[in-house]
């Protein structure tokens, strides 16, 4: 019975064109969820946020237009704003390169064939997958406290140390840097997949010509990896400026505002001091800073990211590889 009805049914559908077979309309139906979400949860908030940045707003009374007052106050009167900028810049400029160097180093170590690699990769990636959680921040706070693990281990080596690192004006900042660098896993995985793409013939040819390991690294590995480095750098710079959970839980910005991360200060301005307009202005400054850094990285990348067009020596080889990868 089904054999008889099926062809007829199929024919029927082929002739009948539904209203929703119009691609122009169907396209909008498919992207509809995102489009609606974008309008409701992004576009309106963005417009509101622009308005708040130029207003005085404490949430209790309606916003009052204040012109550039928020920005003027931030740049001329707010000592904490400069402190937060200083802390966040030094944090991003120190911890992002450290994280990437570490990620590349471990990726190169793990880039060999062995049954254990999958296991190692998992172990090294584990901190990244849980590192952003509250539990790890709480753990970190305990490890670096006065009678925590670090002082305990130092004691084993006969070094008497009783300082609380998280409360120490010099050390507190570094505990957060170390926590950040510790989570190098996802950059490492990206590097690892980048390393796998480099044809081994390049190394073989270079070694035949008498190039040493260092030379191979600087002349082959780094240039070939440069697009991946660019990607990682941009992602991590953006991440680095957004650090919040760790600073809020481990040090609360202290001691003496030594770890007052920008986003933590922004959070305090709004939800602690109820200065919502002021905080909105800070958010836009943050966006400008991140945008500025990303732009600089992209503009300078033309000179240090290796691309097919620059590759005069082995254009054919490169192209072949590109096709394969795609």
């Amino acid at each position: 019975m089904s054999a008889e009805t099926k062809p007829a049914k199929q024919k029927d559908i082929r002739i009948k064109r539904h209203w929703y077979d119009n691609e122009g309309l169907a396209g909008y139906i498919f992207i509809g969820p995102w489009l609606l979400g974008f309008m409701l949860f992004m576009l309106i908030p963005i417009l509101l946020s622009i308005y708040f940045a130029f207003a005085k707003y404490d949430l209790l009374s309606p916003p009052e237009w204040a012109g550039l007052q928020n920005f003027i106050n931030l740049f001329t009167k707010d000592r904490l704003f400069y402190q937060a900028l200083k802390v966040t810049f030094s944090f991003a400029l120190i911890s992002v390169p450290l994280r990437l160097i570490f990620a590349l180093f471990v990726a190169m170590i793990l880039n060999r064939k062995s049954k254990m690699i999958a296991f190692y990769r998992a172990a090294y990636y584990l901190p990244s997958i849980i590192g952003g959680s509250v539990a790890v921040s709480v753990l970190w706070r305990t490890i670096w406290s006065q009678d925590g693990v670090i002082n305990g281990i130092l004691g084993l080596f006969g070094i008497e140390s009783t300082i609380s690192y998280i409360g120490d004006i010099h050390w507190a900042f570094w505990t957060i840097v170390i926590l950040y660098v510790w989570q190098f896993g996802s950059s490492m995985l990206i590097f690892l997949s980048g390393l796998k793409q480099i044809p081994t013939t390049y190394y073989e040819a270079a070694t035949m010509d008498g190039a040493g390991k260092m030379r191979c690294f600087f002349k082959i590995t780094l240039p070939m990896l440069s697009p991946v480095i660019l990607f990682n750098l941009v992602m991590q710079i953006i991440n680095g400026f957004m650090v919040f959970t760790q600073a809020q839980i481990i040090t609360q910005g202290g001691p003496n505002n030594r770890t007052l991360m920008y986003v933590l200060y922004l959070y305090n301005s709004s939800f602690k001091y109820n200065k919502f307009g002021y905080a909105a202005a800070q958010a836009w400054i943050l966006l400008a800073i991140v945008g500025f850094f990303t732009a600089i990285i992209f503009i300078t990348s033309k000179s240090w990211v290796f691309s097919e067009a620059d590759d005069g020596d082995k254009p054919k080889k490169k192209k072949k590889k590109g096709v394969k990868a795609a």
């Binding site: 691609e23 995102w34 997958i129 509250v134 539990a135 753990l139 305990g152 992602m235 957004m242 958010a283």
Partner: protein, 282 residues
């Protein structure tokens, strides 16, 4: 012969070093897990002793009791509820949008796509304040709605990742199905979606663990103990000014990490592949 012994020693040294560094890396987590089985008073007096001299489970009992009359069963239930719903919503909506962007032709597609990619760069902090005010004005604060509902409108990260996967599927599939009389919706649900299963699993893992660890969103919107997620509960439980029960604190920290770690161990192939192919942040 000589070469191979040398090679063997080299390999052994390599594995010892890699294992050693790996152990140092995850030592803090192992330390925390073992500490949660120590007598609470011993946690900070025996920091150098990794294995407890006596395994006790009362930390878990004491910790589970929670605070403010709310136990951790409530917090875990909240976290699972929020995380699972957001994950399902996020993954399915993203797949739908990804199909639209990668296979259909419609007006202004390029513009919308460019805007979507730009929103990837926008820091959440820019949206945080106005969203808080908007959700407040429609009475959504102190409910799960602000942390769940926005997830149902597609996540640009996942959309982009699914698009990468879809672009790897041959277009002939779509065309063959079209000739057989499938509508665009049938093509999507019967052909594209089943093929996207690996991508969807990867997205689901990331959606799960980002939401599970989410701190800022819960901090803003869930301000009553009965609504707390595990993240917030652990934070409150471990308040530095009042914490004295270290054992219970570590017990709850360990438990809060457990779902993510189990998921990671079971599905790590998808995670590694997902990061490698799309460069997702972790």
């Amino acid at each position: 012969m000589k070469m191979s012994t040398k090679h063997k020693i080299g390999t052994a040294v390599y594995h010892v070093i890699v294992c050693g560094i790996g152990l140092i890396m995850i030592y803090p987590i192992i330390w925390m897990a073992f500490s949660s089985f120590k007598e609470s008073g011993d946690v900070l007096t025996t920091v150098n002793q990794l294995i407890p001299s006596k395994f006790v489970f009362e930390n878990y009992v004491n910790g589970w009791a929670g605070f403010a009359g709310t136990s951790f069963s409530v917090f875990f239930r909240n976290s699972f509820f929020i995380t699972i719903l957001s994950t399902i919503g996020g993954v399915f909506s993203s797949v739908v949008v990804a199909y639209g962007f990668s296979r259909l032709h419609f007006k202004l597609k390029g513009l919308w796509f460019a805007i979507m990619m730009m929103t990837l760069m926008l820091p959440a902090q820019v949206l945080m304040i106005p969203q808080y005010i908007m959700f407040g004005s429609i009475g959504w604060t102190n409910s799960f709605l602000p942390v769940i509902v926005p997830e149902f409108f597609g996540k640009p990260f996942f959309i982009f990742m699914c698009m990468q996967f879809i672009s790897g599927l041959p277009r002939e599939l779509d065309e063959a199905a079209k000739i057989d009389g499938c509508s665009l919706f049938t093509i999507f649900s019967r052909i594209i979606m089943p093929l996207l299963k690996p991508a969807m699993i990867t997205c689901a893992i990331f959606a799960f663990y980002w939401k599970w660890d989410d701190y800022m969103g819960s901090l803003l919107y869930l301000t009553e103990p009965r609504l707390y997620t595990v993240s917030i509960a652990v934070k409150q439980f471990a308040d530095p000014t009042s914490v004295s029960d270290w054992g219970a604190m570590f017990a709850m920290c360990t438990l809060s990490l457990l779902p993510v770690i189990i998921l990671f161990i079971c599905l790590q192939k998808y995670i590694v592949d997902g990061i490698a192919t799309s460069g997702l942040k972790g």
